[in-house]
Structures are given as structure tokens and as C-alpha cells.
Amino acid sequence: MLLLPWAGCQSVSILETSLRQSHSQLLDVQMTAAAHQIERKLNKSQYADFNTRQGNYYAPLTDSKMLLDGFDGEESDWENITTPWFQLNTYDYVAGQSAETTSPTTAKFKLAANDKLLYIFIQTSALTPHYFNPMQPQRIADQLNIRSVNNTGLISRWQINPQGSGRVEMHNMSQTIKTSRDAGTWLWRDGHYNIEIAIPINLASNAIGFDLVLNDQQTNQHFKSKPSTTYERSLVREEANLNQQLADYTQPGLSLYLLNSQYWLVGQLSADDITDDNLGSDADNLLEPQSWLTDTIYNKLFTSDSLPYWLEPTRLGRWLLPQQLEQTTWYQDSPINKQLHSKVIIVNGQQFYFVAVQDSRQSLLSASEALNQLLILLFTIIAIIVTGLFAFASSLSWRIVKMKQSYRAAIDSDGKIIAVPEASKLPDELGDLSRVMQQLTINQDKYTNYLASLADKLSHELKTPVAVIRTSLENMELSNLDSEATKYLTRAMQGTNRLSQTLNALSEANKLEQSLEYAQWQVVPFDDMLEELTDAYRQIYNSHQFQLKYDNSLDYTINLAPELIVQLLDKLISNAVDFAPVNEAIKFTLTKKDKQLQLTIENQGPHFSSDNVMQLFDSMVSIRQQSDTPHLGLGLHIVKLISDFHRGYINARNLPGDKGVIFELLLPIENK
């Protein structure tokens, strides 16, 4: 049954693969079209002459306006700028050599830009600050010089002379009339400088260079971008207007990147940004119905572990692994797969890479939906099958239970078959079993009846030959025989009599069973009946004593077959008298229990041997010692037959102590 979901998942997997391929092709076509479009647009646009030079410095786009407070790290404006630090190298200014020198002090910086300002954050290692003292302007002090070039080739020079830790001004050195403006903050903090400043982007859009002059042991150390007087380096930055261009190609799950020839990111469109904003409620509608279960199953099934892991490639502002761009590749980005496509476009003779990364969750949504529907269908089918199987199993179990009950009801506690249960007519295995069981029961019943009647048949068949022998012997007895012959005749007669008694005993129980049909039921006061009976027993067994106890105030009227009950009690008393010592009374106790009367008869005879007490009531079981008269143990069997006939219960047990036994007879008051 589990093959079914497996096969379903396989088919969805195939579907997914083909969808992936077709989507890949589709993406390729779209990409080609988009690449041409962008190429054309950029060539035509007013930004056509944007910086396409090889970038030495890179400024990512920052959304917010930065607060120039000199702080970096957590919760500062720079936290989100993940591009690497650029180093400023020291050059021996005094010697005028271009060779780099080493210095214990280091300086590094980061850039960020928006459409108005270029933000600069410079950090040095530990040092001793030397501030500019306006009172002693000739004294050596720390200083920052900046050269910037814009798109039009205008060169701007700036200088900052900090007079202490705090806000600083910037002097525009390129103009004939020096102007100063608020530049930002120059902090001396934890033993090092944090310099956070901003300059207009339109003055630095092409290149920027730094010359940080730091005093060390009365000598100036220059930390510069380049060891020359024109120390600016070209600047590449991510541009908001390019991002807007890319926004035209928004698709769910699609990320677009525009890289320059050196793989610097100049424009991007992130799938994360657009999913919610641009698609709005449509995306919600598409994504919401997916249950977590389907998602989990889908991800388990279709996120291949064999694919290379996806790493966000533009964290450092530059595409990390340029070789990725060479071909269309799938990556795994738990829990979804990503597909990467790249195209080369040429703008103003410069090579650009146009990269698209498609998130497979969006593209293969339909496969997932197919899976969803398939799963629903499969679960429905499985639920129906399971329900069907359960119902089938229940019906089998019910039939077995029914059969067990009917057979349990059919056989009484003595193993006798009361009525043969109906056999099932159904043609299945249980029906067969039922029929076999019925046949077995019928056979068992026949065999039981055969056994029950065996003794009777045997005695009947033996009676005639015994009668022949006996009558012959009796006739012989009547003729005159000599004393020798008489001796043998007497022995033969004794043997025949004994055989005759045995035969009678054998058929007695069977005879009783037959006579039960003719039993006469009568409503009698059981206490009076017992009074009469104990009187009778006193006369018959005058060597024994009999006691009868009952509550005089109660009514012991009961419906029974008196002749049979007398027969039952005769057997019990005959049994008791055989075993009970002469001097101790045989006690009858009559009590009323709900809808039953209980009669107990106890005597002080020896205990039953403990292991076969209930067997006493079976036919042909005797625990008596060998005696002269034949004893087949039928007396108590007759007691049981009569008790059962009255729907009563007979039980025998030993009394506590070393002697004494008690018989308990329970008879229902209402009967037939």
C-alpha cells in the first residue's frame, strides 16, 4: 500500500524535474530578452557614461541617511555595510620614495553611498593623537587629505585638520577661496581614531583617494591610497537608478544582479525585497495554502543534497566566485533550490554581467501544488483502504467472537453439547471454519451420546445372557443337587447376582435421564418437605442422628420436582451414612439467598482427597475403598443430573479441620 505514495512522489519528482528544465529554458529566454533590453536602455540612458572603470574602491548603496557620529559596530549605520575594509598604506613621505614602508600603525576605511552623499569611515590602530592647534599652525599635527574626481573630470581636494576629538570641518582646497563645511566627526576613542565623514557624491562619483597624515615620533606618516600626488583610485558603487532599472524585471523568487567586468555589484534586485512588497497579496494567496506538511514532504523529497550549497555571493560587494557565472547551475539553499543564470552585456564598450538567481520554490510552485493534490488524493485513498480493511478486520473479529460465544453457549460447564450452533453460510475461510466446527460439534455430540448410551446399551445387551445364566442356575437350584454341586451353584449365583447389580447400576443414570422428561413439577414448602424427609431418614437409618436447621419465620416455598429431589437427597444421605461416624449428627441447613434456596448437608466423615472433589459428580467416579457390593460412583452423578435438571448447583468440599465434608445444593425458587 505504501508503494502508492512512493509511486506518486516519483511521478511528482519527474514532473518537478521536467518543470525545472522547462523553467530553466524559460528563464534563459527571459534572461536573454531582459539582457538585450537592459543593454539598450543603459546605452541610451543619461547614465550611459557611468563609471565603468575597473574599480579599486567600492561603495555599496545605503538606504538610510547616515548619522556622522564616529561610531561603528553594532547598531551603528555601518552595521549593514558588509563590504570589506580597504587598507591605506604608509609611504615614506620624507624620503619621497614610492616604496611602501611598514609602520606599527595601520589605517583602513569603508565606503557607502546613496544618491546624495558618499559616506567614509576611517579607522586607525592605536596611536597618540596630535591635534591641530590654530595657535601654533606650524606645529606638526594629524591631518586628512582627500582627492575626488567626478564624472565630468572635476577634481576636488579636501583637507581636515582636527582640533580635538569631536566634530570637524572640511576645507575645500581646490577652490581659490577656501571654503569650509561641516564634514563629520573625528573621534579619538579607545586609543584609536574613528573618522566618519561625508562628501557630495556628485563630486566623487568617479574616483576618490585618501592621504591620512599621522604623526609618529615627530615625523609624519602618510597613509595613502597611492604613493603619488594624484592618489585617487577609481570608485565603483552600487547605484539606485540601476536598481530601479532592474526592478522592471521583478518576478517571484527571482534575484537579479548587475556586475561590472571586475564582478563588482553595481545594481541588484533581491528576491527577498520584492516578494512581499511587489507581489503583495498575490504571493500570499499562492503561498498560504501550502500546508507545513506538504512543505516538509516537498523539501524532503526534492531538495537534493548532491547540489552545491548556495552562498549569498554579493555580501562583500563583489561576486565571490566568478566561475559561477560561466554556466547555468543549480544550488541548494535549504530548504529550496536555486538556479543561477548569467549573461554578458556590453555597455559603452564595457563588459557587464547580468546575473539572475531563481528561487525554485516560486518556479516549482505548481509541482508542489500537484504534490499537494496528489498527497490529498493518496491520503484519501489510503484512508478509504485503511477504513475498508479495518471494517473487514472488524467484521472478521466480530464473526470470530460471535462464533466463540455461540460455541461457548452451546457447550455447558460439563462439556455437554446443549445445542449445535448454526454454521455460517458464507463461502470464505471463516465460513469453512464455522462449518468444520459445526461438524466437529455434531460428531462430538454423537460421540458423547454414544458414550452416554454405551453403558445402557451394554447393560441391555448383557441382560439377556445374564438372565439365561441366572434362570438356568435358579432352575438348577430347584432340582435336587448334591452338596458339592450346590457349593458351586451358590458361587455361580453370587457371581451372577453381582453381575446383574452392576448392569442395573450402569443403566440407572441413563434411566434417570429418560425419566426426567416425566418429572412432575410442584410448588412445595421445602422446609416441611425436609421435616418429613429427616423423619423418614431417622426411621430408615436409626443408628444415625439427623438435624435440620432453618429460620422458621421465612417462607421456603419452591417449585421443584419432589420425587427427583427426594431421590437426590436419598443419594446424598446414603453417601453420608456410609461415611459419617454413628455418634455424630448429619446436619441439614436450609437458608434463603435472594432467589435461591441453599441446602447444605454436612457430616463428620473423612475428607475427600483434595484433588478430585468436583470429579465426584462425574459418572463412574468413586473414591470409596473397595467394598463387597459393586460401586460405580453413579450416586453422585445422579445427584448432579437432578441438580442440573432443576437449574441448580451442587458442590462438595472439605470442612476445615481434619475431617468432615459438606455438600451444598443451590436451587432457584422460580423454575419452569
Binding site: 439377556t464 438372565a467 441366572r470 434362570t471 438356568s472 435358579e474 425419566s515 423418614a536 420425587e563
Partner: protein, 234 residues
């Protein structure tokens, strides 16, 4: 001798037993005719009835040939003493036999002496019936019961009750001393028969039924459990 004049027909298919019984009966002076099947017996009976018939139930392939014969004999004579002597000891057979009007039902395990005793008891009863002992006892009235001993007739509420000889003598013995418990032995003596205890019980049952047939309220025969029976005048 009276006995020499008495003729007993013995219908028994087991020749050995039949001859043994015949020998025993002849030894004490009865005249005995043996029949081994129903047809022979019936042919003889239609010519002349014996003084007593002793029948087996199963006769040479006829499972209930003895019962059929008994039925025919009862049609021929209401008073002919009939004894069943059979190996069958089921109560059903016994009841059937008595219902057909047999006077006694013996199984083959009784001794020949008992059989002889019953035969002579039955003959004695016939003698007694023929010779009422005293004029006073000829009619016995106990409430609704009236017994004519001479004519062996019983009436309950002036309606005749058809009883066998055994049943008649049981009723007579009980009614003679109302209230007195008569045990089974006493009843057997009175009926001049040797019956086992169960047979007396069966007779009592049949007697009650016969009276109940006339009077549904009949309750004059009380059981003294373990002791016997007594006649109660209400």
C-alpha cells in the same frame, strides 16, 4: 389343585429364557404354553385365553410386538392379568406398558423367585376378587370416593375411574385408613405384587392422572416424602 388348572401363556423370543421360566413355573404346578412370536401367540389367544399372559416387549424382529399383543389381549379381556418381562428398563417402556393395561412390568434381572411370587400374587388377587372377604367391605366410601370391592369398581364424584388391578389395590389400601402413611412396601403387599420403589411411584402418578381426568382439583393422595403416601379426606 387350582394351580394345575391355571394356564400361563409365556411369549418370549429368547428360547433359553422362555424354557427356563417355563420349567420354573411348571415345577410349582402351572400349565405353561410357550410362544416365540406375536403371530403364534395371537392365534392361540383367539382360540382360548390363558389365565395369565407373560409377555416380552421385543418379539422376533417386532420391536414393540409385546405392546401390540398386550393391546389386543386387553381388547379380548379387561381383567386378564398381564405381566411384562423384558430386558428393557427404560421408564418410557414401563409407562407404555402400564398405560396399555399391564398389571406388572418386570425386568429380566429379577430372580425367578420374584417372578414366581408375582405370578402367585396376581392369581391370589384374582381369587380375592372372586371371593369378597366380608359384606361390610364390599363398598368403601371416603368422601367423593366409592370403591366396590366385589366388582372392582372405583368411582370419584359418582363417575367411574378405570384402574388396573394393581392401581385398584393401591387405592384400596390408602383409602381404607385415611391419613395413615402407607409406605411403598405396604402398598406392594396390599397390591399382592413385588414392585420396585419406582414402579409404585409410577403407579401413583398414573392413579393421580386418572382421577385428575375426572376432577382437576383431585388432591386426595398426598406424598409423605421419603415415607410413602396417604389418603386425605378434604
Amino acid at each position: 389343585m387350582i394351580k394345575q388348572q391355571l394356564h400361563i401363556a409365556l411369549v418370549e423370543d429368547e428360547i433359553n429364557i422362555a424354557e427356563n421360566y417355563r420349567d420354573a413355573l411348571q415345577r410349582i404346578g402351572y400349565r405353561v404354553s410357550l410362544f416365540h412370536n406375536r403371530q403364534d401367540a395371537l392365534a392361540a389367544f383367539t382360540l382360548a385365553l390363558p389365565d395369565m399372559a407373560i409377555l416380552d416387549v421385543g418379539l422376533q424382529g417386532e420391536y414393540e410386538g409385546g405392546f401390540d399383543l398386550c393391546r389386543t389381549l386387553r381388547q379380548l379381556s379387561e381383567t386378564l392379568p398381564i405381566i411384562f418381562l423384558t430386558a428393557r428398563n427404560s421408564e418410557l417402556d414401563e409407562i407404555s406398558a402400564l398405560r396399555l393395561g399391564a398389571d406388572d412390568y418386570l425386568t429380566k434381572d429379577v430372580s425367578i423367585h420374584q417372578i414366581l411370587a408375582r405370578v402367585s400374587a396376581l392369581f391370589r388377587r384374582i381369587q380375592a376378587l372372586k371371593k369378597p372377604q366380608s359384606a361390610d367391605e364390599q363398598v368403601l366410601t371416603r368422601g367423593a370416593l366409592r370403591i366396590n370391592i366385589e366388582r372392582i369398581e372405583t368411582y370419584w364424584q359418582d363417575q367411574p375411574v378405570t384402574l388396573t388391578l394393581t392401581e385398584f389395590w393401591i387405592i384400596h389400601t390408602l383409602a381404607k385408613h385415611p391419613g395413615q402413611v402407607k409406605n411403598r412396601d405396604q402398598l406392594m403387599d396390599a397390591a399382592h405384587v413385588v414392585l420396585d420403589n419406582n414402579t409404585i411411584t409410577t403407579h401413583i402418578k398414573r392413579i393421580r392422572k386418572k382421577f385428575n381426568h375426572i376432577d382437576a382439583e383431585f388432591n386426595a393422595i398426598k406424598t409423605a416424602y421419603g415415607m410413602g403416601y396417604r389418603w386425605v379426606i378434604e
